[in-house]
């Protein structure tokens, strides 16, 4: 209880804000340097957005669908095929393509036009693995701190 009374954020969450801002800058760079890329999102497995970069002509409601939650379920299921853990799912639609990476506990989603080069998107997603894993560790620590704080309430 004491922790929540004197601080705006729980202890772990405060430490999470800095890496999230740095990741946001990485995503913005990627968006600007990749052709036909419309949006880059980093979410948790429930679809809650931690960092995002979107193109200027992309309305917010485009990111509303449960992209990450769908991926999360599909990724869990494909883990039962006997091919080991799922790393990535690429879905191609009439006008768009979505590439999603499983960087547990986080998910990276790249939304691009179908004209975009799929190989470039996959390579870009792999390049972001390290920074996302750093944020992922901070998220895990923040969750642990929160659980500990709740034990004292």
């Amino acid at each position: 209880m004491e922790i929540y009374r004197y601080s705006m954020y729980p202890l772990g969450l405060k430490k999470l804000i800095v890496p999230c801002r740095q990741l946001q800058a990485f995503l913005q760079d990627l968006l600007e340097s990749t052709d036909h890329l419309k949006a880059v999102l980093v979410t948790d497995k429930d679809g809650v957005i931690l960092a995002k970069a979107t193109g200027p002509d992309l309305p917010d409601h485009v990111l509303e669908p449960a992209f990450s939650a769908t991926f999360s379920v599909a990724s869990d299921q494909s883990g039962k095929l006997g091919f080991g853990r799922n790393k990535m799912i690429m879905s191609t639609f009439d006008e768009d393509q979505v590439v999603q990476f499983n960087y547990s506990p986080l998910i990276l989603t790249l939304l691009a036009s179908s004209k975009a080069n799929s190989g470039v998107l996959i390579a870009a997603g792999k390049d972001l693995e390290e920074p996302i894993k750093i944020v992922g560790e901070s998220v895990s620590k923040a969750i642990q701190h929160e659980h500990k704080a709740k034990e004292y309430v």
Partner: protein, 133 residues
Amino acid sequence: MLKPKVITQVLQQANTAGVHAALLLNPDGSLVSFAGGTEKDAKVLAAVASNVWFGYERYGKPPAANSVEGGEGKEGLRNLILDCEQGKLSITRTSRMLLCLVADERVEWGLLKAKTRTLKEYLEGPLNLVASY
């Protein structure tokens, strides 16, 4: 009439260069025909492939950027590729059925996508004649 033996022979042709199974399945996940691997494995693959495909078809579509908020204007799913630690799966729709190719992790994306597309186009015509229900 569908000739199961001929379908299996067509599917078998995709099983080269790292691709080790090709499956044709109904939208409900029941197996129509397969080439490569055991029947037990094929049934599991078909069930999971169908589930993942319809999950993405229902909830994984990005609405068109110019669509009205909360309105329709969603796109159709064309192809799905799943990359696992020890294998890759490519799923697409052909006629009213689903086609699924299973490859090992060393197979290149482009090759897997091209094989899936070629097989889809080859099967689409004949399957449209029998699966128009």
